[in-house]
Subunit: 311 residues, 3 copies
C-alpha cells in the first residue's frame, strides 16, 4: 500500500478489516513506528480523527506532529501558475514538499467548498499532497471520500458476525449543506463485502453514480428500513444541484418507530451527530456510534501499520 486515499489503494479491504479487529482484540502495541514521524495536517475541524489517529500512531511508537495549517501556518495558494500578489502566502506544492521532508507519513484533512462540483470531485488538494509529498499520504477525509471512517464502519459491522447483512444507507436532515464524502466512501467500501446494500434518500439527493453500482435505491425510507440489520445514517447535500439542499417534505429523522421496522437493526453514524435532527436521542443512545468512534483508533492503527510494513 503506497497511500490510503480510497478503497482502491487497498489490495484486500477485507483483510484490513480483519487486521483492525485483531488489533482491537489484542490491544496490540508495537515498535514498528519507532523513530518515525507522522504529520497530521488539518485544514478543517476534527475531533475523532485528530485524537484517534494520534493515539494509533503512538500505539505503534511513532512521534506525531499535528498542525492546523490555516491557523498555525500561512495562507495557502492552490492554483498552479498563479501570480501570488494577493492574500495567499505559500503555495500548496511548496508546503506539502516541505512538510513531507520532516515526516515519514502524512495525513491530511481537506473539506470541499461545495460550490464547484468539478473542482471538488477532482480532489485537487488531496492530489497535490500525493503529487508533491515524498511520503505516503493518508486521507483524514477529503472532498469526496473518508476511507478511515469507512474502514471503521466495516469493522464495526464485521464485529456483529452477521452473514450477508442487510445494510441501509439513509439520508438524514441537517441544518447545513454537508459533503457527500461519508456516504460515497461507505458505498465504495461496503460494496466490497457480502452485504446487501440499499440506499434511500429524498428525490434530488442522488449520489454520484460512481459509487452506487450494485446498490438498490429507493426514495421510500420506510420501505428501505424493513428488515435492515444496520441503518447507516448521514446527511449530505445534493450532487446534481451541487451543494444545494432542495427542500424535503417528509420526515427523514430516524426515530425508534422507524427502527422498529428493521430486523432488530443497529443504528450507525460517523459522528458528530445533530441529536433530534438526524436521529432521536432514543435511537442514538442504543446505537453503535461509540463503537464506531472507538474503532477509529484501531482502523488508523491498521492503516499506519500496513504503510510502515510496506515501506
Amino acid at each position: 500500500m503506497k497511500h490510503f486515499i480510497s478503497v482502491h489503494d487497498v489490495e484486500h479491504p477485507q483483510s484490513l478489516v480483519q487486521q483492525t479487529l485483531e488489533i482491537k482484540a489484542n490491544a496490540r502495541r508495537s515498535e514498528i513506528g519507532r523513530n518515525k514521524t507522522l504529520a497530521l495536517i488539518f485544514f478543517n475541524p476534527s475531533l475523532r480523527t485528530r485524537l484517534s489517529t494520534q493515539k494509533a500512531a503512538t500505539n505503534l511508537g511513532m512521534d506525531v506532529i499535528v498542525m492546523n495549517i490555516s491557523k498555525d501556518g500561512w495562507n495557502i495558494e492552490f492554483e498552479d501558475g498563479s501570480v501570488m500578489d494577493g492574500s495567499t502566502q505559500e503555495h500548496i506544492k511548496d508546503a506539502v514538499q516541505v512538510i513531507s521532508g520532516y515526516c515519514d507519513i502524512m495525513g491530511v484533512r481537506t473539506f470541499p467548498n461545495l460550490k464547484d462540483l468539478q473542482e471538488d470531485y477532482q480532489e485537487k488538494v488531496l492530489k497535490k499532497f500525493v503529487e508533491h509529498a515524498n511520503v505516503p499520504v493518508i486521507s483524514l477525509e477529503s472532498t469526496t471520500l473518508h476511507p478511515l471512517q469507512s474502514l471503521t464502519d466495516l469493522a464495526t459491522i464485521a464485529e456483529s458476525k452477521i452473514q450477508k447483512p442487510n445494510v441501509v444507507l439513509s439520508w438524514a436532515p441537517h441544518p447545513k449543506a454537508l459533503p457527500q464524502a461519508v456516504p460515497n466512501s461507505f458505498l465504495q467500501w461496503i460494496t466490497k463485502t457480502d452485504a446487501d446494500v440499499t440506499l434511500t434518500h429524498p428525490k434530488g439527493y442522488e449520489l454520484c453514480e460512481d459509487f452506487t453500482g450494485g446498490v438498490a435505491i429507493t426514495n421510500d425510507q420506510q420501505e428501505a428500513l424493513a428488515g435492515a440489520d444496520f441503518v447507516y445514517t448521514k446527511s449530505w447535500s445534493s450532487y446534481s444541484q451541487y451543494g444545494q439542499t432542495p427542500s424535503v417534505e417528509d420526515d427523514w429523522t430516524v426515530s425508534q418507530q422507524k427502527m422498529n421496522l428493521t430486523n432488530n437493526g443497529k443504528f450507525m453514524h460517523c459522528l458528530p451527530i445533530r441529536r433530534n435532527v438526524v436521529a432521536t436521542d432514543e435511537v442514538i443512545d442504543q446505537s453503535l456510534v461509540f463503537e464506531q468512534a472507538k474503532n477509529r483508533e484501531f482502523a488508523a492503527q491498521a492503516v499506519l501499520q500496513k504503510l510502515l510494513e510496506d515501506f
Copy 2:
C-alpha cells in the same frame, strides 16, 4: 481516588501535599504512565495548567494529547434533549464519551459564564465529563473550583514549615468580572490544614457560604493583613449579585506598605496577574508566585500518579 474534581475526592489532602513536595525534592520520574494517554481538553485559555500538566504527564511516561476543543473541533451543545438544528454541531455527551475512548485519564478546563449562578454552581459541564467519561477526570479549573491550583498553593505554604500559619485571602481589584473558582477552592483546601484563615473583601464580594466555614471574615483589609504569614490575593466577581462587580471605593491593590503590616508575610497569587492593579510590581517581584507556578508541575504529577496507582 477516582476523579480529581474537588478536595472531596482526596482521602488525605495533606498526604497529597507531602507527595507533591517529595516529587519536587527528588525530581522523580517514573514509568507508571508508560503506554497510557492523557487527553487535555481546553474550552478556555491556559498557560500554566497547559504546560505544567503536560510536563507532569511526560515525567510519568505518559503520552499527552492536547485539544482546544472549541477551536480545533466542533461547536458543542450542552443541553440535554435539545433539537440540534442551530449552530451547535456535537453534543457534549457524545464528545466526552468519544474522547474518553482514546485516553486513560482526561483533563478538562471549563470556565463559568458568570450569568446564571445555578447553572455555574451545578458544574453542568464538568458533571457531563464525569458522567460520560469512562476514565478518571481531572479538573483543570471548572466553573467553581480549581483544585490543582489549591494543591499547589498548599504545597507552597507547606514548604515554609511555619506551624499554624496565619493565612489571609484578600480580594483584589480587576478590570474584568472573574470567577470565584480560585478563592472557593483555596478555602476548601486551606481549611483542611492547621492554618488560621482570614478572608477579607469589600462588601458585596461575599463568597458562597459553602466555602467559608471556619474562616474569619472582615471587610477591613488592613486589619486582616496584620500579622499575616501569607497573603493570598485574587480578584473575583460578586456571588450574591452574581457575576456583577459592585463598585469599591477603597484601594484594595496590595502595596508594599500594606505588606509591611504583615508578619514578614509572603504574597501569593495563582497568575496570570494584572500588575499594578492586583498588586504592585514591588510586591509581586518579592513574592512566591513563581514558586507556586513551578509547583503546579509537581502537584499535577502527584495527582496523575495517584490516579494511575489507583487504577
Copy 3:
C-alpha cells in the same frame, strides 16, 4: 553556547555548519535530550520552523511542548511598570519565567511591528525572554534576525563545496511590507565565511549598516547577478523609511533570463515564497529551496545538541 539568538552566540559558526551537515549525513539520532523538554512559543505563524524544530528535538530524545501563546494563553503585556487595567492579561516577564520553569530549552518566535525602528531593533521581546528565562533561549525568528535560517543557508551553500563562492543577496518585490530579519541575519552569517558577498536592492531599501560591513552593494540587480554562484532572494521593507515600501519602477522578480546571467547559479529562498512575484515558477522549481527547508531540521538539531552538551 548559552543562547542562540544571533551569530555572536556561536564561538565557531563554521563548526556549527559542519555539525549540521554531519547530522544530515548520518541521520544521527541521540539520547542526549532524554528527559529534557523543549518549549516552542509562537507569537506568529510558522510552518518550517514549527515542524523542523519539533522533529529535531525528537531526534535527540527530547519532549516538545508547542504553544501559540497569543491564541492558547492570555493577552500579553510587554511594557514594564504598566498598570494592567486594559486588555492585556499577563506580563511577558511573568509568562517567560513561568514557562522556563517547565522546560529545559525555550524557543520563541516574535515578529516586528515595523512601526517603530528603535523598538524593533532593540529586540525588546526577545530580550525579555533572555532576561527572565532560567534556561537557554533559541530564536525562532526575532524582530531583526533569523539565525536558524541563516545556519541552514550556510549549510546548504557549504554542501556545494564551491570554494569562495560568489553569493548575491537580492531584494525582491512583495505585496506586503516584510521584516529585515532574514537578510540581516544572512549577511551576519555569510560574512563569517570565505564567500564574496554582493547585496543588491532598489534605492530606498538599504539595510542597517550593522550588517553590511564587507559587503559589495549595488542598485543594479543584473550587474550583481553576473557570475553569481548563489542568488539568495528575499523581500524586505525599508529600513530608513522604517517599515515603508517605497515604489520600485524596475522589475526585480527573479526570472530564468536573469538566472542565465549567473555562473550556473543556484536560487535560494527561505520560504514561504510568493510564486511569480519574488521569482518565477521556473526558477523556483530548479532551486535549492527544498534543500534549505530540509536542512532546517539538521540545523535545529545541531543547535539543540550544542546547547544540551554545554549545559
